[in-house]
Structure formats: C-alpha cells, structure tokens
Amino acid sequence: GGAMSFLKRFPPPAEGVRHQQPDTEAVLAGRTLGAGTLYIAESRLSWLENSGVGFSLDYPTISLHAVSRDLNAYPWEHLYVMVNARFEEEETKEAPMAEGEEEEESDDDVEPIAEFRFVPSDKSALEAMFSAMCECQALHPDPDDEDSDNDYEGEEYDVEAHELEQGDIPTFYTYEEGLSHLTAEGQATLERLEGMLAQSVSSQYNMAGVRTEDSIREFEDGMEVDIAPVVAGQFEDAEVDH
C-alpha cells in the first residue's frame, strides 16, 4: 500500500482540549501511522504525527472506545476506538482484497467500521484518555435519536430550570451558602421568622397550633396546660383545635 491519503496537515486544536497525550502511536486496522500526539478535544478527536500531518475523527462517527490491556488480543496496552466510517487503505479481516481494489462489503447494509488503536508510551495515561473521551462523547448525543423528543418543555423541566436559574447546580443550599444567596428582603424575612421561633410565650404572634398565653384564654375548657417556652419542633406534635 502507499501513503495514507486521508492524512492532512492541520494545526493542533487550541480550544476545549480535555486531554493531550504526546508520544502516542496511531494504528489503523493493524497498520501503524507513526508516532504523534493525540488530542482529545470537545469538538473532535485529533491525532497529529510528529511531522505535522494527521487526521481527525468526529464523535458522532465513533461507535465505541475502550481501554485494552489484553496482551493476547494486541501486544500493547492501548485506547481502542471504533469508527463508523471508511478509511482508505483499510484492511479488514473479512473477505480478502485484491490489490488496488476497493474494499467491498458482502452485504451492502453492513456499516463500515474502522478500528483505530492509540498506543501511548505512557500506559498509565490510558485511564485519563478513556475518561476524557467519555466526557467528550457525551457532549455529542445522537441527533437522529428515534426517541428524539428530548426537547422537554414540560412543566418539570421548566420548574427545575426556573428554580435553579442555571443548569446544573444543586437544588438546595447549606446554611452558609444559603445565607449568601438571600436578598436583603429575604434576609429580613429569615430574621423575622427566626425571631418568632426564638421568642417565648409572651410572643405577640399567634402561631398555628401553639398555645400562647393569649390563645389559652380563648380555649378555656377547664384544662390546665403548662405552657412550655416555644421552641422549634414544637409545631410537629402540636394539637390544633379548629
């Protein structure tokens, strides 16, 4: 075979690079493409040989990726990437090819598959490479998804988004965080409520279900009731006479 004609010269990606692994060999269908740097970027997966030529793969075309440490299957630990596309000069284990002929699938409906292996000289980087790819892959959900009604504008979706204002933050705050998020009015309300809880029997507020000195007069039924100081939690087992 000749040179891999799908290799092109292009600058390394500058934005959204989640992981970069130098000194990484790229192998296509068992044939080495040389040594270079693998760029796992949010927009696409790129590999550039040290000479400056390389190729890119779009995440929607990647069917799966994996960490292979099975030396019986392949003699070096690597990141395996299966792509749903055809690349020139590709050899497969299927029907043998006559020289110069284009590969033909016996069944036209079978989708093309290209198998890439990225072999880093630093094996310990494989986990990070794998995870970076998972993250980037998740950024490219299938637009042709049959169940494509994922554009939820239902009440649930809006309720959460409305409450949170942003996308992915927790739906509750710890006490300290919460305080800092209150407006001046909110803080005033909080202080007032806390004051109500802290005040004792002589509170000027009637709290539901709690018998204060004032309300006792209304419910005079001969029962002697010991009025304990109002504390938080007293509400829970208060008996409410309606």
Partner: protein, 123 residues
C-alpha cells in the same frame, strides 16, 4: 443512589426507560451492539442518551473474536439491546431511580458532595 447532575438528563431519564438501565449500575450485564458484537461487563454508568460505560468487559466482535477490555464506552446509538440480569427487579429498580431523582429535585440530597458542584458551564 446516584443520579445525573444535569437537570435535562434527569428529565429525560424520568420520561424514558433509560431510567431502568441507569439502575443497573454495579450489575454485570450483556450489551448487544448494533454491529452484532456483544460486550459483557459491569455497568459503571448509563446516561440519558443511553451511552453505556462498562468495566471488566468480555468483548466478542462481529467475527466472533473474544477479547478483554478494562473499560468500554458504547454510544447510545450503537446499543441494540441491554440484557436485564435475572436478579434485577425491574419495577423496584425503576421506582428507586425515580425516588432518587425526586429527592434531588425537591429536597436536595444529603451532603453527598453536591454542594461541591462546580457551576454549570454554559455551552
């Protein structure tokens, strides 16, 4: 019980059977791929787009060659079937996942690190 950190993904999961697959985390199962290869391994994660992450995988490619993979990520598009292991109670699993989602949504979780969330990145 972990649920997605994404509002959108929680909503998607809640409205589709992917919520069942998400409940398979930790179980060993077999995933049939679109190209007729299969992968058997322990489910690490399934997201709302049915991307499946497996660990300790026995992978049989479409020619029947078997190999082991430490970790495998299959895109949802390429998943044909996910086998539900016999030991999994489907209904209970779905209910548990829904409860987990509702806990996050309405009451917050406990301190399972959620207050350390980074702020969402705007795309």
């Amino acid at each position: 019980m972990e649920v997605s950190h994404s509002v959108k993904e929680r909503t998607i999961a809640e409205n589709s059977l992917v919520i069942l697959l998400q409940g398979l985390r930790g179980h060993v199962t077999t995933v049939d791929l679109r190209d007729e290869s299969t992968a058997t391994g322990r489910v690490t994660n399934v997201d709302a787009f049915m991307n499946v992450r497996l660990a300790e995988v026995t992978f049989t490619d479409r020619q029947g060659t078997v190999s082991r993979l430490d970790e495998l990520f299959v895109t949802g598009r390429n998943v044909r079937y996910v086998h539900i292991p016999d030991e999994v109670d489907i209904r209970a699993t779905i209910e548990r996942q829904l409860q987990a989602i509702h806990r996050v949504r309405y009451f917050g979780g406990r301190d399972k690190g959620r207050k350390e969330f980074p702020r969402a990145k705007h795309k």
